[in-house]
Symmetry: D2
């Protein structure tokens, strides 16, 4: 932490900052420039918030944090990538995992048809919402436990491990009975009570990036899980809120590469929420793999125009098969590369 | 709802849309333009999501929603403004309510000193965090029930009604014992499980706008409370996430005027979180009142540079008194207005 | 400038940074922490970009700039506020200046009717577009020189000084003949060729904040004008691009207080572009004055529903008079303030 | 265009809207719902802005535009993709074009070394800035004509066609003498005077997306070029401004797929500005190709830590070669795909 004094800081004000840095458990280290003085708080055992709060001390211009605030999720703590095992499916390994299924479980028929269909097309995990976070109280809120039972049956029939969203601490136990992985939705990324509860389960967690969360905040949300005892965590980028209105969200694919640089945790992408547009999902899913994503999660519905939620961004089974084939196609060649150059 | 067919839509595709609009419980109304056809779904008893999902039907370009999705919070439902009574303090009436207090309750001494100080300066309600949503698991997480008891004591001593944040359904009962009003924090604005639980209490709720929520989503979050049975709801704008880095958030003061135009609920402003900067709080609080806010909530700490949270945006008691005086000063005069003109 | 070495930086890498800091004309000052080393570049005569570029040197984690990059616009250079005189109207003085007029000059009748009307209502300057920046090439592009002549006539008749937008270096001379103040539109805030040309005129400049410009970039755009020789500069906040769709832009009123804290230049607000909604303009204009704006610029049209541009955000003359009266009304009183307290 | 009347609209207000729609050159088509009435303006020859301005007419709630405002750039006008030929290099064809070179031309040695180096690594075009848009007036502003001559020499020596940025109408002629393609920088995307001037040249134009431009605005900027007579236009996504601070911009890769869906023009990506971080450029460039980009533009400098501009996001020649090899590597395989499935 660096305390940057203003140009007009008096010697007494600098002295006060030095004193407070010592009180907070750090060593002060002073650099006197031609125009201004900076004081570094050196050491690792001190109380950071006391240095942050010095930004309002007299004579202080700004306080700048240097070190990253996360620890257990950091590559510095664990340089090799983590692999999270979900019912036998390895996320973070050499292969890219595709999770597919409907936004909401609407009926036994709808889910089973989708589960068999996505398996045929090559998906290795099944998604389906039982408890749905809906912007309006008048929208379909999910079938709850009934949906969980249907998901359980689909797993039995297809062998696909199941991920479903958890919205409340009160639902954690029952969801753990039926699901192989629990998803923290984007709107709950900073529902800290929920994160603390999930940290005590033995289930893998898929944690989506909040629509207004910077990468650092996303990693700190995961840090709640790891510091609470659960290190089976997968990150998922699903788009952030920007001024662009042609897509539902703006998917920040560079953040996937960045998250993998900063953290050892696997990172997935959700092109369905990331774009909100059927026609863009295939291209964005390909891009996510190219940028380094360890997996893709895609919404599939037997008949999107009849879906109770997220119809506009759901693929039907034929479209999903086509997207899957696209994910295996080679990249377009470069104009300037002769055969030998790229080798 | 309007279904906008693409230029190349075939008669069969238009027929299909017409058929689906009827199935969804609406009357189709067709407008054939020179280039394209639009089909309106007329009526109020139909299933909106089925029309929305038609955006993926063949031959459909876009689906446009016309009516606002909220009902009980709307000015159309209740034209006159609502007044929410919190322990005798009326929010939404002729006077502007000022709520002040520390970000977190840190100790009995800290809170009581602040409570008496803000009362002296003219505040009519007390705030203080017992359960704290913190970005990092390594930051101070609040004193919990101990803090609630201290808040209760402060209320007894000062007569100021108390508002405190609730983060989890599990804490609702105990907070209801001690607080006069419960706050839903910005990060929990779409924690629907929490909203549904709070709708069943008989306490007034202060619901902050999420950092990435459009005004419509904010009003729909309030709609969860009203539709669940609790109509004692106050909205609070506290800044949204934008690219500007000089302030912690960008406070969207126009949204206060807009929310009051769309809804009958009272609306407050939080210039502390809205700016994150001590020096801007007074000016922004004044602007919030000028734009139509029914109240202001401000973070005050006896010694901001020693605060366990939000120090950089907390005022000390002297600064708070000065801000309060500023809120009563007249607006700067216009250059061109002669005495008579403005009358 | 501070060069923050990574935890794993070698002594050679630190030595390299120290060497490069000296080469760039600064003194290196080293702080060795328990985990990492930081090297400050001390002095004022060095080449900043060479230190910035060290962020890619081996062993370097980040480079942090400490000092603000602007000079002539800074309060540190000139603590007292600047007053800009536009044809006798003082912007930045004790009174708030209101500029009003149509988005575009459409005809002699339209402009003269507006000019007389806004003068009657208390405006002290006239605005009107001659050269219009339009998102689509198929929209009305302005009447050019004909519009300038009409503006000149309106000034003669009303005595109101005139401001109009300049879009291109080629139009600067002719606009200087007719206008009292030249406006740099938001989309041209970083049109540096235009800024350099305007710096050589002797006309006051109104420079709008770009829709994606942070406050620092806005001030640096003004710095182009001052460093080029023109210090008659007024800043104008007109809204930034955010995810909110209910308003055309999000007006960042806190940035007005911030700009006035950082700079001695006067700052105005444009609630017409800032909201894009007739019904919000009055409330936001009041808030802008309350937050500290030195002036307001408002779009007024005799018949907004027939305007060739910006109709949805234009006031008619009756609405404008009402807004002007609102700007003179007292602020709503605080609930807790007794007569004596605020004195 | 659809005029959506408010619930309380009177028959006279509806009549007024119908009348105005006729005046504006459209046919009115009325749909009366149970709660509200909508009036469509049908036809293609009318004046759109007059319908837009009806949003402020009494009794009108909102006006919704249905058709896209761009024409010549649209896929509907020209379904097959356009190929732009720049000195023999085809952008928009079967192969991906890589443009590389320094942010600024700093010296003859620097540019020639870079030009030969990037050619060796497989680049097919050369970039280099002669006139530089710089946020601060105190930063390096480019070598101007001297840089153009150096670029000309590099083209002679390497055969690589050259693209360089044009900032002002006054520089267009001299740049056309030396460059094969002119770039409109992100900050000038809506410098309409410049666009109109470039439309009259016979040079291909690379137009970058503005940092706050929605895709529609970007396409309308290109429409200025096509409607002015120049259809050799290539779009380039270079990142938009968002709240994320870990990257310089947020590159919106989905917008590339979207722009190609809406328009026949080729689209490139700029991962250097899109991320601002050396370490992310390779991954993001790969993702851009995967999402459908027709080319990539990358900043390369012989010694980034000595670059006069954009050092932190420039690759050295060794890093560039590695990135080029990465662009040719196959995509990571899917977990669930057996050999036959993807075929």
């Amino acid at each position: 932490m660096i305390v940057n004094m203003s140009d007009s800081a008096t010697p007494e004000q600098i002295e006060h900052v030095i004193h407070r840095i010592r009180e907070a458990g750090f060593q002060p280290h002073i650099t006197r420039g031609t125009e201004r003085t900076i004081v570094a708080a050196v050491g690792s055992g001190g109380r950071r918030h006391e240095i942050e709060a010095l930004s309002v001390a007299p004579g202080v211009d700004t306080v700048v944090a240097i070190a990253q605030p996360f620890k257990l999720v950091s590559r510095q703590t664990r340089p090799e990538p983590s692999i999270v095992n979900v019912g036998g499916v390895k996320i973070g390994g050499e292969e890219v995992v595709v999770i597919a299924g409907p936004c909401s479980v609407e009926s036994r028929e709808q889910l089973l048809e989708t589960a068999h269909g996505v398996k045929r097309a090559g998906a290795t995990m099944l998604r389906g919402g039982a408890y749905k976070p809906r912007t309006s109280p008048y929208e379909f809120q999910g079938l709850g436990i009934e949906a969980l039972k249907i998901l359980g049956e689909a797993r039995e029939q297809t062998g696909l491990p199941v991920v479903t969203e958890v919205m409340s601490t009160e639902d954690v136990d029952v969801i753990c009975e039926y699901a192989d992985m629990l998803q923290v939705g984007a709107r709950n990324m900073q529902n800290f009570a929920l994160l603390r509860r999930l940290a005590t389960t033995n289930k893998p967690i898929l944690i989506k990036r909040g629509p207004s969360a910077i990468v650092k905040e996303w990693l700190l949300a995961a840090e709640y899980l790891l510091s609470g005892g659960n290190n089976q965590v997968v990150l998922c980028e699903r788009g952030i809120k920007t001024f662009e209105t042609a897509t539902r969200n703006t998917i920040d694919l560079a953040s996937i590469a960045l998250a993998k640089e900063l953290s050892h945790l696997p990172v997935m992408a959700d092109p369905s929420h990331g774009t909100g547009k059927q026609s863009l999902i295939g291209a964005v899913a390909r891009a996510a793999i190219a940028v380094g994503a360890d997996g893709i999660i895609i919404e599939v519905h037997p008949c999107p125009e009849r879906a109770l939620s997220d119809g506009p961004q759901s693929l039907d089974l034929t479209q999903f098969e086509k997207v899957m084939r696209g994910l295996c196609a080679p990249l377009r060649p470069l104009a300037g590369m002769k055969a030998g150059q790229a080798a």
